[in-house]
């Protein structure tokens, strides 16, 4: 018998479950042999065992597969006992079928809490959970860390996407814990360890608010004054108003001024003639 094939199957044991999922795994004491093996996996569920004992159904993704692990979650779709069998093929040689010692029922799965990341975005409490697949839901409990605080529970179905839990009050600490729930088998995992975050107090925001208020008031006063000042400057620059002294102000109409001037001239002329007569008489 081909040494590789012997190793493929001499130690083959099918393990039906792993943490939070269902995997088939071949065990062998020697690594590097699996590249030569082609694994064929088939399953027989309770219905087939009861009604059609000769029928084995090939696995969706694991027939064929190159070992040593394969995900059979898509095959394990009912909460009934499953019998699995596997064999290896190397070239033209095929091993005998190897079957599970005890049938596997998915409700024997041991669930564990998911990996959780708790962060804060300002005053918002954010949680991010690992993606375990579409069968998994998460029960998230969060509370304000103080005696007698009420615990809030939220069901989270989104996978790998940050979820907003709630808004925190300034200066308070909040804690979060989570557990896995698989509706298909009606089982929960235990709750995870609680993780807590604290939000900073109000002093900084108050100072900021005060500063902002003062700045706003300043702007409210400075802007109108500046606008008024600029307006005055522009008026003086573009359209100045000339202020005449009183002595240059013309109070009468121009005609009157001319007639007045004629009278003055005649008076002057008269005055001049009267001074010329003696000169003529002298001459």
């Amino acid at each position: 018998m081909d040494w590789g094939l012997l190793l493929c199957f001499s130690c083959s044991v099918i393990k039906g479950l792993r943490k939070n999922g269902w995997l088939v795994r071949e065990e062998s004491g020697v690594t590097g042999v699996w590249s030569k093996c082609l694994i064929l996996l088939a399953h027989k569920k309770e219905y087939e065992s009861l009604y059609m004992s000769h029928i084995w159904i090939p696995s969706s993704w694991c027939s064929p597969t190159e070992g040593p692990e394969c995900d059979i979650t898509d095959d394990v779709t009912a909460t009934v006992p499953y019998n699995l069998r596997v064999r290896a093929t190397v070239g033209a040689q095929t091993s005998a079928w190897s079957t599970l010692q005890h049938p596997f029922n998915r409700n024997s799965t041991i669930l564990t809490p998911p990996v959780m990341e708790v962060t804060k975005d300002g005053f918002h409490l954010i949680i991010k959970l690992e993606d375990l697949g579409p069968q998994f839901e998460f029960l998230v409990a969060y509370w304000r860390r103080e005696p007698g605080a009420k615990e809030h529970v939220k069901v989270v179905k989104s996978r790998g996407i940050p979820v907003h839990l709630g808004t925190m009050e300034p200066g308070a600490a909040y804690c979060v814990k989570v557990r896995t729930f698989v509706k298909a088998i009606g089982r929960h995992s235990p709750f995870s360890q609680a993780e807590c975050v604290k939000v900073q107090g109000e002093t900084l925001p108050l100072a900021l608010a005060l500063f902002a208020f003062v700045g706003f008031m300043l702007i409210l006063v400075v802007v109108p004054v500046s606008v008024w000042k600029m307006g005055r400057l522009l008026r003086y620059s573009c359209c100045p108003v000339v202020v005449l002294p009183d002595t240059l102000k013309i109070t009468n109409s121009p005609q009157k001024l001319i007639s007045c001037r004629r009278e003055e001239v005649e008076a002057c002329a008269t005055a001049v003639l009267s001074s010329e007569e003696p000169f003529k008489a002298w001459i």
């Binding site: 569920k45 309770e46 219905y47 087939e48 009861l50 009604y51 059609m52 029928i55 159904i57 090939p58 969706s60 095959d75 779709t77 009912a78 909460t79 009934v80 509706k183 298909a184 009606g186």
Partner: protein
């Protein structure tokens, strides 16, 4: 004056007891995620229904058989129809396509699980079969027997969406058994 009051009180008490019993029966019903069964069926529905040689005949929906089932009879009817599919339909259908076989196997095994859940109710005598449910079941079996087994089986498989929708409607909002 006392007699009318007493009779009114008796009627009210009977009505109350009947509603409690009805609610008890409804609460006895299975609560499981039908979504994955519906998904599995949707993937093979077109292929299965295309193979049905008698498209103008129905097995489940004669004269709205299922829709006339009253809440008191839902548990019994569910039990009978699950048995109908598990003991008759899936056995009589021979599927060669491995992908379709996989989906039918998934549905069949899910039905087995639902039967086990209902069996608990039966043991507690909370799934009594009245004449209405028994007659409706008889009609369905009679419709099935009028066709040859392979044709009847493929037709019943094609009508799984009717059965699943009926289960979903009647078991909605019930607590787990």
């Amino acid at each position: 004056m006392k007699a009318p009051c007493v009779s009114l009180w008796l009627v009210a008490a009977v009505f109350f007891l009947c509603s409690v019993r009805a609610r008890g029966l409804r609460r006895c019903l299975i609560s499981m995620d039908l979504h994955h069964i519906e998904e599995a069926f949707q993937e093979i529905k077109k292929t299965i229904q295309a193979k049905d040689p008698f498209q103008n005949v129905t097995i489940l929906s004669t004269s709205e058989t299922l829709h006339r089932i009253k809440p008191l009879d839902v548990c019994c009817m569910t039990k009978n129809l699950l048995a109908f599919y598990v003991d008759k339909v899936f056995k009589d259908h021979q599927e060669l396509n491995p992908q379709i076989l996989r989906k039918i196997s998934s549905i069949a095994n899910s039905f087995l699980y639902m039967q086990k859940a209902l069996r608990q109710c039966q043991e507690q005598r909370q799934c009594h079969c009245r004449d209405e449910a028994t007659n409706a079941t008889r009609i369905i079996h009679s419709n099935y027997d009028q066709l040859e087994a392979p044709s009847a089986a493929i037709k019943s498989l094609g009508e799984l969406d009717v059965f699943l929708a009926w289960i979903d409607k009647n078991h909605q909002g019930t607590s787990a058994a």
